[in-house]
C-alpha cells in the first residue's frame, strides 16, 4: 500500500505538514547535552601549542617550563603520538592523480600552517593547559611559505612537500563538444574573472570531543560533535589500532555543523590517542581562535571563464579555468579535491548546451586546510555560471529572465545528461522560474528600479538559477575507497504503551532531523508524532549509516525510516488481525488506534495490543509473528545523485558614494522533491541563503604573504547578522524522486548555492548604468567603489 501524498486529508497525514520539533523545547530551555556539558570522573583537558608560523622545520622542543605549571599532568609531542597513532593520507581512487602527504595528529618534523597542532598539553583544567601551552618553547626554523594559489606551480615557487614533487594536489579537465570552435564562431563571447573568498563555517558550538578509553573493556567511547559517527568510528579504530567493534562514537546535541564537523581533525585524533595512552577521559573543546585557524576553510577559488552565445541568446559554450589552494594537506577522508571537482561538475548546470570545458587545478599552500563546507562548490559554480549568463544577456541586450528561459532544460526533457555528464532524473527549472517571477512581481520590480534610478538611487535585480547535488550514492566517496556509508538505516519499535522509538543512522545537528524523522515514522506507523521518540548519533545503538552531509538526511534517512515504519505497521496489523479476528487488509492504524480501514471506527488502542504482546503473549496463537521491531535500510541505485533545482532573486540598493549594499528582499523557489516539513525546509533555505549572503557581502579569511592569519575573531571575520538580512520569501515546486516512496531530495544547501550569485548579479545590475562590474567576493564597500573608479591611492 502506498501513501497517497497528494491527498492532504488522508489519515496520519504528517508528511508534508509543519509539525513541532520534538527537541526544540529542550534546546531553547538550555537543556541540551553538548559535548562540553559532559563531565566524566578523572577527566582531563587537552590544549594545543600550535604553530605560530606558516611553514617551519620543528627544532628542539623545550617543555621544562610548561611541565612546571600547576595542574599539568602530561605533555605530548608529535613524535610521542606518532608511536601510538598511524598517519592518514587523504586521497580517493576515483579522483585520479590526487596526492597528499601523510598527516599525523601532531606535526612531527614540520609545521605547515599557522594553527597546526604541534604539542599537546594535558592538565586538570583548560586554563592550566592553556597556561602551559603558552610556555611550550619550540624552536621553529622558518621555511619559505607558499601562499598564493596562482603561482603555486611556478618553477621558482618552493615545493611544500618535496616527496610529492610539486605543489599540484589534483587537476581535472573535462571536455565535451568543441569549445574552441564554438567560441570562435559565436555571435558574442564574454569573459570574466571571478574570485570567491576563503570562508569557514563558524559553527555556534565549536568543535568538541571527549574521549574515554576503558582498558578493562578494551573499548573507546568518543563523545563527539560530529556529522558522521560511523565514519569516525572507523577512523579511530583504524589509526589507533582498536577493533572497529570496540569504538563507540556518541553524538548528542550538536550546535551546527555546516560541513565543518564531517572531517578528521588532527587535534581530535590526538585527543583520542592521548585518552588511550593515559587511560583517562580527555576533553578538547576548540575556542573561537582555534576554530578560525583549524576548522576547515573553503571556497578559496580564482576563476577565468568564458561564455559564447548566439544572437538569440542560446548558450553555445562555457569554458572554465578554476584554481583553488587547499592548504598543505588534503583533508581526511573526504579529500580536498571534491570542491574543485564539484565546480567542474556543476558549472552550466541548469542549461541545455553542447560545448563545455572546465578544468580545476588544486594546489597546496601553507594555510589552513580547506574541505567540504555547506554547498560544496555550488556557490562557486553558480556564481561563475550565472555571472556569465547575466553578462551575456547584457552583451546582447536581453532580459536576464528571458535568456535563462531560452537555455534551461525543458521541464519535460528528463531524464537528461548534462555536458558535465551529470544525470538529472527530473527538474523543474521553468516552473520554478515562473513561480519566482510571479512571487517577486518581476515587472513591478523593474518599474520600481526605474523609478528609483530617477531619484539617484541605484537598485538592482539579480537572478540565479541553480542545481543542487543531494542524496549521494557510493559514487561520491565509496567508489574511491572511503569507508563512508551512502546507505542509511532505521530501526523502529513499538513499546508496550503503544509509543514508538526510532533509531536512525542520520544525525541531528540542530537542523531538525529528529522532527523530520518523527513525522515520517508517525505517518508510516499511524501514530501521533508526539508518540515517536527519535534516537540518533550512537554507533553502538543505531543502525549503521552515513550521518548528515550532502543533503542526505531526509532523502536517505527519511526513506529508511518510512520503510521501517511501514514494516512495523504491517507487523502490528498482523497481530491486531489475529486478536480481532479480522482481515488484516481491512485494518489500519490511525492516531495510535487500530481502526477499521473503511469506516475509521476504533477497534483497539495500540497500548492494548502492546499489553497483550509483551505481557500476555500466551493468549496469542503460537505461530503468530509478533515482531514489533523492524529495521530497513535505503540506498539510491538509479542515479549517482538526486539533483534538485531552484532559482533565487535578490533586490538591493547600492550606495554609490560609500559602496555599501543594502539588501532589500530575497526570493527563492526551489524543488527538493517531496517537502516533508514545510517550515523546516523553509528555514533550511533561509539559513542557507543567509550563509550565502555572508559569502557575497562579508566573509573573507585574510592571510598576509607570509601565511599569517589576519582575522581570527568574530570582530574581524564578519558573518551575516540579523540586522542586515532582508525579508526572504520562499516558494516550492515539488518533483519527487522516483527512487524512493517518500520522494524527498535534499534541501540543506540550495540557499547557500544560489544566494551569492543572485547578489552579485543584482549589484552588477545596479551598477550597469555606471559602467561598473564586480566579480570578486565578498563585495565589500571598498571593492564596489574601486569598481566605480572612485578611489585614488
Amino acid at each position: 500500500m502506498t501513501i497517497p501524498f497528494n491527498n492532504p486529508d488522508r489519515p496520519n497525514s504528517y508528511i508534508g505538514k509543519t509539525v513541532p520539533r520534538p527537541n526544540a523545547t529542550k534546546l531553547v530551555q538550555g537543556r541540551g547535552r553538548y559535548v562540553d556539558d559532559i563531565v566524566l570522573p578523572r577527566m582531563l583537558h587537552v590544549c594545543f601549542a600550535r604553530s605560530p608560523v606558516a611553514h617551519a622545520r620543528i627544532g628542539e622542543i623545550d617543555l621544562s617550563e610548561a611541565k612546571a605549571v600547576k595542574g599539568v599532568i602530561r605533555i605530548f609531542t608529535g613524535k610521542d603520538l606518532a608511536e601510538v597513532c598511524t598517519p592518514w593520507v587523504a586521497v580517493l581512487a576515483h579522483l585520479k592523480g590526487l596526492k597528499s602527504p601523510p598527516e599525523y595528529p601532531l606535526a612531527v618534523d614540520r609545521a605547515c600552517w599557522v594553527g597546526e597542532p604541534v604539542v599537546a598539553v594535558v592538565a586538570t583544567t583548560r586554563a592550566a593547559a592553556e597556561e602551559a601551552a603558552a610556555l611550550v618553547a619550540v624552536d621553529y626554523e622558518d621555511l619559505p611559505a607558499v601562499t598564493d594559489t596562482m603561482t603555486a606551480l611556478d618553477t621558482d615557487t618552493p615545493v611544500i612537500h618535496p616527496d610529492l614533487g610539486d605543489n599540484l594536489a589534483f587537476r581535472r579537465l573535462h571536455e565535451e563538444g568543441d569549445v574552441d570552435a564554438a567560441l570562435e564562431s559565436a555571435h558574442k563571447v564574454v569573459s570574466a574573472r571571478f574570485r570567491t573568498a576563503r570562508h569557514t563555517g563558524v559553527t555556534l558550538e565549536p568543535r568538541s570531543i571527549l574521549v574515554d578509553w576503558n582498558p578493562a573493556e578494551g573499548q573507546m567511547t568518543a563523545y563527539h560533535a560530529t556529522q558522521a559517527p560511523h565514519m569516525m568510528q572507523t577512523v579511530f579504530a583504524e589509526h589507533l589500532d582498536i577493533p572497529e567493534s570496540r569504538v563507540r562514537v556518541v553524538c548528542g546535541d550538536v550546535g551546527g555543523s555546516y560541513g565543518i564537523k564531517v572531517h578528521v581533525y588532527p587535534d581530535e585524533v590526538a585527543t583520542a590517542a592521548i585518552a588511550k595512552v593515559m587511560g583517562r577521559p580527555i576533553k578538547f573543546i576548540a575556542d573561537r581562535l582555534e576554530s578560525y585557524t583549524t576548522d576547515i576553510h573553503a571556497r578559496d577559488h580564482e576563476i577565468e571563464a568564458k561564455i559564447a552565445v548566439s544572437e538569440e541568446g542560446k548558450i553555445l559554450a562555457i569554458d572554465v579555468d578554476d584554481w583553488t589552494g587547499i592548504g598543505p594537506y588534503s583533508v581526511y577522508p573526504r579529500t580536498s579535491a571534491i570542491e574543485g571537482n564539484q565546480v567542474v561538475n556543476l558549472c552550466g548546470g541548469p542549461y541545455d548546451f553542447a560545448n563545455y570545458r572546465a578544468q580545476t587545478t588544486v594546489v597546496f599552500q601553507n594555510k589552513t586546510p580547506t574541505c567540504q563546507y555547506r554547498a560544496v562548490g555550488h556557490p562557486i559554480a553558480v556564481a561563475i555560471t550565472e555571472g556569465l549568463v547575466d553578462m551575456a544577456a547584457g552583451a546582447i541586450g536581453m532580459d536576464p529572465v528571458e535568456i535563462r528561459r531560452r537555455n534551461m532544460y525543458a521541464d519535460d526533457a528528463y531524464p537528461v545528461t548534462s555536458p558535465a555528464k551529470m544525470r538529472f532524473e527530473g527538474l523543474s527549472h521553468h516552473a520554478s522560474m515562473d513561480r519566482l517571477v510571479e512571487m517577486m512581481d518581476y515587472d513591478a520590480l523593474r518599474a520600481d528600479q526605474e523609478e528609483a534610478r530617477k531619484q539617484g538611487k541605484y537598485r538592482g535585480i539579480g537572478i540565479a538559477s541553480f542545481i543542487e547535488l543531494t542524496n549521494p550514492s557510493p559514487f561520491m566517496y565509496g567508489i574511491g575507497g572511503a569507508r563512508i556509508s551512502a546507505q542509511d538505516g532505521c530501526t523502529v519499535r513499538m513499546d508496550p504503551d503503544g509509543s514508538v522509538v526510532a533509531l536512525s543512522g542520520v544525525t541531528e545537528q540542530g537542523q531538525g532531523t529528529e522532527a523530520m524523522l518523527s513525522q515520517v515514522v508517525a505517518e508510516g506507523v499511524g501514530v501521533d508524532p508526539g508518540q515517536v521518540r527519535i534516537i540518533t548519533g550512537d554507533t553502538q545503538v543505531t543502525p549503521y549509516g552515513g550521518g548528515t552531509w550532502a543533503s542526505r538526511g531526509a532523502g536517505i534517512g527519511g526513506e529508511a525510516a518510512l520503510q521501517a515504519a511501514r514494516a512495523l505497521r504491517d507487523s502490528i496489523l498482523e497481530v491486531a488481525a489475529a486478536m480481532l479476528q479480522a482481515d488484516k487488509g481491512k485494518l489500519d492504524i490511525r492516531a495510535g488506534q487500530v481502526v477499521d480501514a473503511d469506516t475509521g471506527e476504533d477497534r483497539m488502542p495500540l497500548e492494548e495490543l502492546g499489553r497483550i504482546v509483551y505481557f500476555r503473549g500466551d493468549t496469542l496463537p503460537k505461530d503468530l509473528p509478533r515482531e514489533l521491531v523492524q529495521t530497513r535500510h535505503f540506498i539510491t541505485m538509479e542515479y549517482p545523485f538526486a539533483f534538485t533545482n531552484g532559482v533565487q532573486a535578490s533586490y538591493l540598493e547600492v550606495d554609490v558614494d560609500t559602496g555599501v549594499v543594502t539588501l532589500l528582499k530575497h526570493w527563492c523557489v526551489e524543488d527538493c522533491g517531496r517537502v516533508i516539513n514545510p517550515q523546516l525546509v523553509d528555514e533550511q533555505i533561509r539559513g542557507g541563503i543567509v550563509q550565502g549572503l555572508g559569502g557575497a557581502l562579508y566573509e573573507e579569511i585574510h592571510y598576509d604573504e607570509d601565511g599569517q592569519l589576519l582575522n581570527g575573531s568574530m570582530a574581524d571575520y564578519l558573518v551575516p547578522m540579523a540586522a542586515e538580512m532582508p525579508d526572504m520569501q520562499i516558494g516550492h515546486v515539488e518533483t519527487p524522486t522516483g527512487e524512493s516512496e517518500l520522494g524527498a531530495k535534499g534541501a540543506g544547501e540550495a540557499g547557500t548555492a544560489g544566494a551569492p550569485a543572485a547578489v552579485m548579479n543584482a549589484i552588477n545590475d545596479a551598477l550597469r548604468p555606471l559602467g561598473a562590474q564586480v566579480t570578486e567576493m565578498p563585495f565589500t564597500p571598498e571593492r564596489i567603489l574601486r569598481a566605480l573608479g572612485k578611489l585614488d591611492d
Binding site: A127, E130, D287, E724, D793
Partner: protein
C-alpha cells in the same frame, strides 16, 4: 581562551579605588562596564591584571545640568546616555551615537567613562567628546584635575590619564539655541566599529568636526572646520583629506577611509541644512 586575572577587588568608594590602584604596583586595571577589558582578557591580550572593580560606585553615575554645563558621571551606561532627556536636549550627538555602539547587551553594561578612558580610535564617544569640546574630570592621589578633550586622547588606547588616576566624569557645554549636532558613520554591519565616522557640531562660533576610525586617535579636523566656517564645502572636503592619515586593515584601505571621510562630511553638512538624505 581562559582569562588570567592577577586579582580582583571591589572598590567601596573613589578614595578606596585610588588606594587599590596605588597598591597594585602598576598592575591595577579599573573594571567598569568591562565590555572591552573582559574581551581583551578572554583573548589573553591582557593577563595578570589586578582588577579594581568600580562598577558599583553610584556617585560616578548619572547626568545633571548646572550653569550651562552638562555633567555626565563616568559610570553612566551607554543605554542611559541614549535615553536620558538631559542628554537628548543638551548634547544630542551623544544620544545619537549610542545607536551606533555595538549591540543592546553591550550598551546595557558599557560606560561612557570606560569608552573614553579606553580611547579606542574607532569608538564614537571619544570623537563626540572632541567635537563637543568636552572636559574630562579625573581624580588621583593628589586631588582632582580637568583635562580638555583636545589634550586627553594621545594615541591608540592611550590618554592623558595617569595610571594612578580615575576618570570620574565628563562635562560638556549645553547646546546653545540653534546649535546642530550630527553624527555620520559607515560600518560593515550594524553595531560594528565604523570604517570611518564623523561628528559635526555647528555653533554660533563656528563648526567643529571630529572624526573616528581614521587615525590612532579621534581627530579634530581644524582645516576642514575653517573652510566650513567660510562656507566652502569643497574646500573643507579637500582639507579633511589632507589632515587625516587613516590606517589600512582587512576591512578597508586608507584610500577608502579618506574617501569616506569626505562623503560623511558632505552628508553631515546636508543634514545640518535639513536636507535629509
Amino acid at each position: 581562551m581562559k582569562a588570567s586575572a592577577g586579582g580582583y577587588a571591589r572598590a567601596e568608594n573613589v578614595r578606596h579605588a585610588l588606594d587599590l590602584l596605588a597598591a597594585s604596583g602598576g598592575q591595577g586595571r579599573l573594571l567598569a562596564g568591562g565590555q572591552s577589558l573582559v574581551a581583551a582578557m578572554n583573548m589573553r591580550l591582557s593577563a595578570g591584571d589586578l582588577l579594581v572593580d568600580i562598577s558599583r560606585l553610584s556617585e560616578l553615575s548619572g547626568v545633571t545640568e548646572q550653569g550651562g554645563t552638562l555633567h555626565i558621571g563616568a559610570l553612566t551606561r551607554h543605554v542611559e546616555i541614549g535615553s536620558d532627556p538631559l542628554v537628548k536636549t543638551h548634547a544630542p550627538v551623544l544620544a545619537a551615537a549610542v545607536a551606533h555602539i555595538a549591540h543592546a547587551a553591550i550598551r546595557n553594561r558599557g560606560t561612557i567613562g570606560g569608552a573614553l578612558a579606553h580611547a579606542d580610535p574607532a569608538a564614537e564617544f571619544p570623537a563626540c567628546a572632541l567635537a563637543l569640546g568636552a572636559e574630562m574630570h579625573a581624580e588621583g592621589p593628589d586631588g582632582t584635575r580637568t583635562i580638555p578633550a583636545e589634550d586627553f586622547f594621545e594615541e591608540v588606547f592611550t590618554t592623558a590619564l595617569d595610571e594612578s588616576e580615575i576618570l570620574t566624569a565628563i562635562s560638556v557645554p549645553v547646546a546653545e539655541d540653534g546649535e546642530k549636532q550630527v553624527l555620520e558613520e559607515v560600518a560593515r554591519r550594524s553595531g560594528d566599529y565604523a570604517l570611518a565616522g564623523l561628528c559635526l557640531v555647528k555653533r554660533a562660533a563656528g563648526h567643529r568636526i571630529a572624526l573616528f576610525s581614521v587615525g590612532p586617535k579621534p581627530i579634530l579636523a581644524t582645516g576642514a572646520m575653517t573652510a566650513l566656517d567660510d562656507g566652502d564645502l569643497d574646500g573643507a572636503v579637500a582639507a579633511l583629506a589632507a589632515e587625516i592619515d587613516p590606517p589600512s586593515d582587512t576591512q578597508a584601505s586608507a584610500a577608502y577611509r579618506r574617501h569616506l571621510a569626505g562623503v560623511l562630511l558632505r552628508r553631515a553638512v546636508a543634514r545640518l541644512k535639513g536636507d535629509n538624505q
